[in-house]
């Protein structure tokens, strides 16, 4: 009989102190953190479509968007988004390209992901986080751990991914194997590169010592010269089959042999270009720092500047028919022209903040916007 008292006492205690017992699930435990926290599968979160999204692309009938924390979202109508649950890592993804149901996403930590089922599940094709080199990457190479910033596929097998410190990777088997390193340039360019290499060391030191409040670079400083390994920010292909890559500090690379060999040139402006779109023939339109837009009809040999009336940096864009374009950027700026003969007109989507990517949704001109505040629709003026 005495045994019975124990449970009854605890029942009484539970009734009296029910509240305090209920909170016992909050257990104290402390463990050293994993050295590579991004190697774990992405987390599905309710607001994934409302935070940093960096690129959008059409994949057949679907739209796929990628962004921070390994977020990949897909939608059939551009309104209701599903976050892909089966993404094996959490690195920030910067760009996406698709050939129908086959999608490739690239990003930080040298990551390349692939989906063969329209974005529902993903596999890692390449991963190269700092200190954990991918196969075939020299651990001491400056490009080890570098982020990939753009990706382009011409068919199911052939693709190019580009990134920081002139990193260029290519595949001819749909991404089963990626190879490359520093962008392969013609002989004369290599010599010129060696020359600027010395300068850039000093420059980086100056860069680092500048304190946050006073780091406004003067025009002279900007002229210091070309980076030896400029970041490659964006790649475009024209209908003639030519490629143009835009990069840091006005760096331009062009290729007419399907991306085997690249010829380096320089924009008339020493600021960086963040995006480029290709049209018919050899026609390209590049855009970037502080509202600068440049157009070339000879695959980037000669450039002419297009006025925008804005000093806001331009981050992404899409080509429209007849040389038209939509270009988006900081503080919700949206530039639009219906054809190449028209000037760019400005509208602003303040709520979006910094816009990184754009996609025309309907024939009525509604745009899908990918920004620091996630995915949204916008109707420019």
């Amino acid at each position: 009989m005495p045994r019975l008292t124990t449970p009854s006492v605890s029942i009484v205690l539970a009734l009296v102190f029910g509240a305090s017992l209920a909170s016992a699930e909050d257990k104290a435990s402390l463990a050293p953190l994993a050295a590579d926290p991004l190697a774990r599968p992405t987390e599905v979160m309710p607001l994934a479509d409302g935070t940093l999204v960096l690129d959008i692309a059409r994949a057949g009938n679907r739209i796929v968007a990628v962004g921070e924390r390994g977020h990949i979202l897909y939608s059939d109508d551009g309104t209701a988004w599903t976050q892909a649950a089966d993404v094996p890592l959490r690195s920030t993804l910067t760009a996406v390209a698709a050939i129908d149901g086959n999608i490739w996403a690239v990003g930080h930590d040298g990551v390349i992901l692939h989906s063969a089922n329209s974005g529902e599940s993903w596999e890692i094709q390449r991963r190269d986080p700092r200190g954990q080199p991918a196969e075939g990457v020299d651990p001491d190479d400056i490009r080890q751990g570098a982020p990939l910033l753009d990706v382009l596929f011409t068919d199911l097998n052939h693709g190019i991914a580009i990134g920081a410190y002139s990193l260029l990777l290519e595949t001819s088997d749909g991404g089963k194997h990626w190879s490359g390193g520093r962008i392969p340039t013609s002989a004369s360019d290599a010599a010129a590169d060696a020359e600027v290499a010395a300068e850039s060391v000093d420059e980086q030191a100056a860069h680092a010592s500048n304190d946050m409040q006073s780091s406004v670079f003067s025009a002279d400083e900007l002229k210091i010269g070309q980076e030896s390994d400029p970041h490659l920010n964006a790649i475009a292909r024209t209908e003639s089959g030519g490629y143009v890559i835009v990069g840091e500090r006005g760096a331009i690379f062009r290729s007419q042999d399907g991306g085997k060999l690249w010829e380096r040139s320089q924009l008339p402006y020493d600021g960086s270009m963040f995006g480029i779109v290709g049209y018919e023939g050899q026609h390209v339109l590049a855009f970037g720092l502080r509202g600068h837009v440049f157009e070339s009809n000879d695959l980037g040999v000669t450039w002419s500047e297009r006025p925008t009336g804005s000093e806001l940096s331009l981050m992404g864009g899409v080509p429209l028919a007849n040389g038209g374009a939509i270009i988006v950027g900081a503080n919700g700026i949206v530039l639009h022209r219906a054809r190449d003969s028209e000037p760019l007109t400005t509208s602003t989507n303040t709520a979006a903040g910094v816009i990184a990517g754009v996609l025309p949704l309907d024939s009525d001109g509604t745009l899908l916007i990918a920004s620091e505040n996630g995915l949204s629709r916008f109707q420019p003026k």
Binding site: S20, N210, N233
Partner: protein, 833 residues
């Protein structure tokens, strides 16, 4: 006859000693009381209003340990918000900026303000960062050449455009600047209270200075809205001044009712006089104990007055019986009419003797009950408990010593007429008493008990939904249309963020923000999880800011908005942040995660806190309890005891910010709301057990209290009154006072039962002799607190409704349930008469 009534209960040693002490030398007693009253009046006059932020906080709570550890470094919980709004809805005009600059300066000059932590668009700790060609620039939101208060300065539209752009870049829109640019705020953090180091914060003085700022700058163009603890205290204190008026009103009503009841100016005045003496004594005693009177405790003197009157009324009732009829008012009017009265002194002695036990039992039970509340580790409740305990203890002296002594000197005029009036009064209610006495018969008693259980069950279920904390914007202590609450609504509408803030402090190794990518990543991911919780409008952390800076170092390219993995780049991204951003401490081993919540409803707070606890448990990032991991890791690092891959541990500590404080208080209230009651019940039970020597009798008194308390909770739900520190105690006080009815009825009934009468008859006699007194007591108290409904303070009005309810329903419960319980608990075998 008088001998007969007193011979029923032969006086024991205690009674004799007490009687000799009180009536032995009455003039000495009176002189002692007079001296004590003079002295305590002197001290009571020095009593000051004394409010404190920390008094309301359960300082031992886990969250508040975090608060104390970091209040010097991050402050933030005790904040005053001064919103300056342009009445035309557009802040971009020179007069507005003039006012804004001046108010910022004036705010810095307020007493006890932490100057370095004052924030507005005019303070240097509010900066923006801008990306330019290859790098970025930063600066103050207001450019240096924008000097609105310098004579001859003309603001240009270009300057306003720049300022507007800077505000956006600094991401202060919605926090320091209204979402629609119709105004801006000054955030004023007060220095931490630290009485040990002599740092006292005079909230009423601060409130006066805030009012002065409003008076100076509010005009036809500008509205100045002010919220924060200091302002609230000021407004409550101002409102509490009307308490004096209510006190006068209560006294007047009480006197009037007593007069109607006793038909004697002298008796009514003496009762009120003795009750006032106990209030004065209590206030004087408070001062002697070194306390001030907290605005939230303003109501305690009322309660002491009420308790004193209710006991005084019993004394008067008994005394009158003696003086008119020479004993208890039992028997038929004819019998009574034949009896003769006795002299005042003997009458007072008899009344004293009869009430010494039930009176002190009731008062001591209340005393112990209030003292039991002392265990709750919230200072303000501690003070209330002390105040109430001292007050009730002193009431024993005034009601059981002073009042009978004074009565012994009292010569009532027109005694025969008053006697005749009383005789009529006695028979008037006989029908009601007969009806009520039926409740003690077995069958009605059983029905009543079943009904009681049913009511209890329903009330308990309904009362369970009592809201913890409060839900409305502003404070529940003030009326919704009070200026303070109007301001709170305005500020939360215009600013959205910055009103309800919960800060979690992430502790890590020294220089975590430059050396430890894993620590920064965890904080960032934690912030993201928090952002995804319903009720969180925005989260701010150092890692988030560092990501933006990292993109800045990469020409503002948004694709670089990541946390750098290598420590050199990480340092570059975080080194620009000063401690005055509130995002990190000096060696960035502590980083707050600031969550801006949509509201401070308990359900919202619970959800957010629950999500935080879930995250830190899942991610093994909580050291538990009050561990300061930062200090532990710093020691480890200093001792060279560092593992190969660094000290990558994070301790996520709840919580500071105003919502952190609310969360801790809610936790505590939830934990103790039952405990307080159980302690009170236990105290009442034990006291009754000791005095009546029967656990069943004790149950008969306690059970109706339990029922009424649950009904009180149900009423709170119905009236939408939240369970907070302030309201927590009201139910307790209701129990403390409600017990009196039961004890007096039972004590009287017990006398008759011991004399051998059957239960129903004993109950009838009890009702006839004390019923009127009890009914009048409840009425007196209820009318007194009922007037509070018209108070400026919503808190006081709510309490008025609650207490009126508690007094009346406790009385009804005592009359209805006590006999029914007695029937089935005490005399189940007795045959009904």
């Amino acid at each position: 006859m008088s001998a007969a009534s007193s011979s029923k209960k032969p006086p024991n040693a205690f009674h004799r000693a007490a009687e000799r002490l009180v009536f032995g030398s009455r003039p000495v007693v009176l002189i002692l009381f007079a001296i004590a009253t003079v002295v305590l009046t002197y001290f009571a006059a020095q009593l000051r209003v004394d409010a404190g932020f920390k008094k309301q906080i359960p300082l031992k709570h886990e969250y508040m340990q975090t608060f104390i550890d970091y209040e010097q470094e991050f402050g933030g919980a005790n904040r005053v918000l001064i919103a300056v709004m342009d009445k035309n809805g557009d802040m971009f005009n020179q007069p507005f900026f003039q006012t804004m600059e001046q108010i910022t300066l004036d705010a810095k000059a307020i007493d006890s303000v932490d100057e370095a932590r004052v924030r507005s668009i005019f303070t240097p700790n509010v900066r923006f960062v801008e990306v330019v060609e290859d790098g970025f620039a930063g600066g103050n939101v207001i450019p240096q050449d924008f000097t609105p208060n310098v004579e001859g300065f003309e603001a240009t539209p270009e300057q306003f455009a720049t300022i507007k752009a800077n505000m956006e870049k600094a991401s202060i829109v919605g926090r320091l600047v209204a979402k629609d640019f119709s105004g801006a705020m000054v955030w004023v953090d007060l220095v931490p209270e630290n009485p040990e180091k002599g740092v006292k914060v005079d909230y009423n003085k601060i409130a006066e200075q805030l009012d002065a700022i409003r008076a100076k700058y509010e005009n036809e163009h500008t509205t100045v809205a002010i919220i924060g603890f200091a302002k609230m205290v000021g407004d409550i204190t101002a409102g509490a001044r009307s308490v004096i008026w209510f006190f006068g009103l209560t006294i007047a009503f009480t006197w009037l009712l007593l007069f109607i009841y006793s038909s004697s100016v002298k008796l009514a005045s003496l009762t009120v006089f003795c009750a006032l003496i106990s209030v004065i004594w209590m206030l004087g005693a408070l001062r002697l104990l070194g306390f001030g009177i907290d605005p939230m405790n303003m109501l305690t003197p009322f309660l002491i007055f009420a308790i004193a009157v209710s006991h005084g009324e019993q004394m008067i009732n008994r005394y009158r019986g003696e003086i008119f009829f020479g004993g208890l008012e039992e028997g038929t009017p004819e019998e009574l009419a034949k009896r003769t009265g006795i002299d005042p002194e003997t009458a007072a002695r008899n009344a004293f003797r009869a009430l010494l036990v039930p009176g002190s039992v009731a008062l001591v039970a209340g005393c112990i009950g209030f003292a039991a509340i002392l265990v709750i580790p919230i200072r303000i409740i501690f003070e209330l408990a002390i105040t109430a305990t001292v007050g009730v203890a002193l009431t024993v002296l005034t009601d059981l010593v002073l009042l009978p002594v004074l009565l012994s000197y009292t010569r009532l005029r027109n005694l025969p007429r008053k006697r005749a009036y009383r005789l009529r009064q006695l028979t008037q209610f006989d029908k009601i008493w007969t009806f009520l006495a039926r409740f003690s018969r077995p069958v009605p008693a059983a029905i009543i008990l079943v009904a009681g259980i049913a009511i209890w069950f329903v009330a308990e279920r309904y009362g369970e939904h009592v809201m913890i904390g409060d839900a409305q914007k502003g404070v529940a202590e003030l009326r919704p249309d009070a200026r303070y609450n109007q301001d709170a609504v305005l500020i939360s509408e215009k600013f959205a963020l910055g009103v309800d803030i919960l800060n979690v402090i992430a502790e890590g190794p020294p220089s975590a923000c430059t050396n430890s990518y894993p620590v920064m990543e965890l904080i960032d991911r934690f912030a993201w999880h928090l952002r995804n919780v319903e009720g969180v409008a925005q989260v701010m952390t150092l890692p988030m800011a560092a990501k933006v800076v990292n993109a800045g170092w990469n020409e503002g390219n948004v694709r670089w908005r990541v946390l750098p993995r290598d420590s050199d780049t990480l340092r570059l991204a975080t080194q620009g942040f000063e401690t005055d951003t509130g995002l990190l401490n000096a060696d960035c081993s502590a980083m707050p995660i600031m969550a801006f919540l949509t509201d401070h409803r308990a359900t919202t707070i619970d959800r957010v806190v629950g999500a935080i606890k879930e995250f830190r448990t899942e991610n093994k990032s909580w050291a538990g309890g009050n561990v300061n991991l930062r200090e532990k890791l710093a020691e480890q690092a200093a001792g060279g005891d560092v593992p190969e891959d660094g000290l990558n541990e994070v301790n996520l500590r709840l919580a500071t910010g105003n919502v952190g404080v609310m969360a801790a208080i809610n936790d505590e209230v939830r934990a103790v709301k039952r405990q307080i009651l159980y302690m009170l019940y236990a105290a009442v039970f034990v006291m009754c057990l000791i005095s009546f020597r029967s656990p069943r009798a004790a149950l008969c008194i306690v059970l109706p209290l339990v029922l009424v308390t649950e009904l009180g909770h149900a009423l709170m739900v119905y009236l939408d009154i939240g369970m907070k520190i302030n309201t927590l105690t009201v139910v307790a006080l209701g129990v403390g006072i409600g017990v009196d009815y039961g004890i007096y009825i039972f004590a009287r009934m017990r006398e008759s039962l011991l004399a051998g009468k059957p239960l129903t008859e004993a109950y009838f006699a009890s009702l006839k002799t004390t019923g009127i007194a009890i009914f009048y007591t409840a009425l007196t108290l209820a009318v007194g607190v009922g007037t509070w409904v018209f108070s400026d303070l919503k808190f006081q009005a709510d309490m008025g409704v609650m207490l009126t309810f508690m007094f009346v329903v406790n009385m009804i419960a005592a009359i209805v349930f006590l006999p029914a319980l007695c029937r089935w608990l005490l005399r189940p075998m007795e045959r009904a008469a």
